[in-house]
């Protein structure tokens, strides 16, 4: 299940300029940065290939203008790529007809937007029921389903409110509910929490994790906030000027950055949040430890109790077998050394 490919992007290009398709062809589908600059083309996405696996949270991150939103919109064909292929469950999206595409969007995709994109003239219930209404479901059925989802995101009792009467966080809950109403397989989230205050953002991230633990969707999540990426992602793809620079888990990005850019990007990330006990432990085993820690516990969580003690701790694996030890020394080394 885990390794099944849900969406596959192959060599996606998105250029802005005059007749970009012909330009790409003359350059053998691989123009250099100088080619683009000299011919006045603005590249939004360059030669991006990436697979989204069933059930994973893939976070695409980068600074503004790095092409992450454009790539996301290519996956749902909100934007037509200049060149390349997008496979959704094995079907080439760029070759499907408008009608089939509408059908896919109606049943298999849900999307959440940075500025919520709620329809101002509809109340919460009508907003959430909107995708179902568009499908042609009758009113009692769709409102029943909408109420379920509203309950799921914790907005019970606010069904009759209009978007302008809700706070930003609540509005985005409506956005989440709307995108989930059709029970989509794939969930696209375009910087869903960027417009919110830091405290609310944290709360919404927890909410998101809670929902995902119940729903197990395939998720593509866009953000420019590395902290957010680390908290949520199974895998992270970093984009820079339209290129996908590196794809990997958060730990991989920090321990083995592919380029200087990635290294620079991840430099200020508190390692304590990322590294887990097993990756910094000593493999020797001792007899009377101060206590035990799990192999996958993050340093952040265990640091204080280890630092308080002069003795060593045993690290246990899934089967509660001792696999190594960890002490003050390892923690300090992991946190403060340069690589």
């Amino acid at each position: 299940m885990k390794n099944e490919i849900k969406i596959s992007c192959k060599n996606i290009w998105k250029l802005y300029g005059e007749n970009p398709q012909r330009f790409l062809k003359t350059k053998n589908n691989n123009p250099s940065t100088d080619d683009l600059k000299n011919n006045n083309y603005i590249p939004a996405v360059r030669d991006a290939s990436i697979d989204v696996l069933t059930g994973e949270i893939l976070v695409i991150m980068g600074l503004s203008g790095s092409g992450k939103s454009t790539l996301l919109r290519c996956m749902s064909k909100l934007i037509e790529p200049t060149n390349g292929q997008v496979f959704f469950e094995g079907n080439d999206l760029l070759k499907t007809s408008e009608k089939e595409l509408i059908d896919i969007r109606r049943h298999k995709m849900g999307m959440v937007f940075q500025h919520f994109a709620l329809l101002p003239h509809r109340n919460v219930l009508q907003n959430v029921a909107f995708p179902l209404e568009v499908q042609g479901q009758d009113i009692s059925k769709r409102e029943e389903r909408a109420k379920e989802v509203i309950k799921l995101v914790g907005l019970e009792g606010r069904e009759k409110y209009y978007p302008r009467e809700l706070s930003g966080g609540q509005q985005q809950r409506v956005g989440l509910a709307r995108s989930l109403a059709v029970e989509p397989d794939v969930w696209f989230l375009d910087e869903p929490f960027s417009a919110l205050d830091p405290l609310i953002r944290k709360e919404m991230q927890n909410e998101f994790l809670r929902l995902q633990s119940m729903l197990k969707k395939t998720i593509v999540f866009i953000t420019h906030d590395f902290d957010e990426a680390i908290r949520l992602a199974d895998r992270i793809a970093i984009m820079y000027e339209g290129l996908i620079v590196q794809v990997g888990t958060a730990e991989e990005l920090i321990t083995k950055p592919a380029t200087d850019y990635v290294a620079e990007f991840t430099k200020d990330i508190p390692r304590s949040k990322l590294l887990q006990a097993s990756s910094i432990m000593n493999i020797k085993k001792i007899d009377n430890p101060e206590g035990t820690v799990k192999h996958n516990e993050k340093i952040e969580k265990i640091a204080s109790k280890i630092l308080k003690s002069e003795k060593e701790f045993t690290v246990l694996d899934e089967k509660d077998q001792a696999i190594g030890t960890i002490s003050k020394k390892e923690i300090i080394k992991a946190l403060f050394s340069e690589n």
Binding site: I102, R105, M111, L118, L119, P120, H121, N123, Q135, Y162
Partner: protein, 667 residues
Amino acid sequence: MRKFLKSNFLFIFGPFIFLWSLRYLIPNYTIASKEPHWLYIPPKSCLGGCGTIEGLIPFVDWTNNLIQFLRRYEIFGLFTFRDFTRALANYVDVLLEFTEALLHKGFVGLGTGPLPWIIILTLAIILGLYLKGWRLAMLGGGCFLYLILFSKRGIWELSMKTLAAISVSAPLAALIGLMLGILAAKRKWFHDFLWPLLNILQSLPHFSYLILVVIFFGIGTKAGVIATIIFAFPPMARLTILGIKNISSEIKEAGVMAGCNKWQMLFKVEIPSARSPIMLGINQVIMQCLAMVVIAAFIGQPGLGHDLLVRLQGLRLGEAFEIGVAVVLIAITLDRYSQALAVKEPVRREGSIFQKYPFAISTLTAIVICTILVNIFPFFNEFPKDMTISASVYLDNAIKSFTRSLFVPLGIFRDWMLIYFLMPLKATFQSLPWTGVMLLVGAIGWKLGRWKICVTVMLFVFFIASSGYWVRAMITVYMVFASLLICSMIGIPLGIWASKKENRSKLVLNICDVFQTFPSFIYLLPAIMLFQISDVSAIFAIVIYSSIPMIRYTIFGLRSVPQHIIEAAITSGCTQRQLLWKVRMPLAFPEIILGANQTLMFSLFMVMIAGFIGTVDLSQEIFRALSFSDGGKGLIIGLCVAFIGLTADRLLVEWSKQMKLKLGFKN
């Protein structure tokens, strides 16, 4: 000296000064001579009476031939274009019959009378409460009470006739505007076709196409309604286009991702999201319809406008004043109601059926109670005539004694204005050679936008010159220019004064709002009262009407100077005066230029209406064309007026835009 030779000044004015100085070398430059030199006055122009004038290019003849063709030629040998338009007019007539029966004729077939006044009054009050609150309801109620009480000379019936016409023309105009706007927002080629057409339609004086309406649609209420629709739909189309284009891309994407097809997208996402601009468009449509109330009377639409016109022509100012107040009250009421509709947000109501639908239920109750009242007491059905009042006699006397006591000082002022300001200005404008004006305008256009603007404005001027009405057009330009000068002298200082304090600017802007709702013909009333029939009274009417944008934009420009810049200036040690002249005015200047542009458009519009009190510019020719039913002439002169406006508009808007760019303001 060398610097001067290279300066903008010489580039722009050089050729013009050269041509102007030619007058001392070339004989026959003035319009007084029988055959003025072609460099000064375009050949074949009308100099005095413009009975049958050819013009350098016979546009008028061409247009008239086209009109004849449309009247005579049978499409597929079946019907002519005119048959088609007249058929359309008959459909409008069907709608009109219904609204007229409802409001003032009564349904003869059913044996019921028109809606009793008590129902109309109550509904107006409930609608006001629903839209905004008791203040709006009081305005609406007060308006209809006035119409009822002051109905001695039939103001109620006249108002109902006017409202019957508006309640057909406004919805139709809104619908047409909406549909064209949607099409233009969706199809680029249609947008490119529609947008310039809207520009011309909106700057064309009403009278010029009134003639065409008469030719193709006949006369009477239905023709008035159709003329009103043609006049009222452009702002609706424009606002619909802007509204749909400005919907945030996220909202549209949300619609696509929900799986909307094209129609669902339009009706469930785009139109509701563009609700506010569209509603504002409806407000504009209603205001335009009211502006047409008097003008449509020229082609025989009965109602308040017609009676106002008759009273004005008979100089029965007291009665005219009473009707004028009715028109203004209706205008303000409809304006405020539709504005309230535009900003109205859906309200959450939960609970019992009474809490959920309070207005629907109170409306029903009110109708039931009123119907019972009407059936028991005839008083509520038709307001008894002997209880109505009229203040026209007192008003007449008051106006007479007022003008009599001011006769001497006003007369002195008027003559002084004429002799020392208006006449010299007029003479200057009339002595401008058309070739020079064209070069001047072209040079400014070149400075601002190279070929594109240069060629456009020169073509505009050339059209006016070659149409044969150059001399008349220059009189129009003179009137507009004189008004612009006076408006700036009044508007800019007033704007500066008002912008100093928040509550002052609010007050002034509110007064501006009220004045702007007045239908333009109303402004002729005080003008005639004070200055009788002369250029001064025309300019007086123009100035009151068109100072409004000048004041408004000045206040807006001065108040939108960023706070941090003002703070920086104050901490640098500016005095109030320095702050105004060194910081706020320069930053507000682009906005003031836009105000001047609007003022110019307003005065151009008002000059045409002032033709009614006998100025000798293009408007007089349009009125003449109207009485001779000369469609081609009316349209071509109308285009001349439109091109005067568009020339100024192009140059001023571009200038303001470039200044804003230089100052680093976005947009």
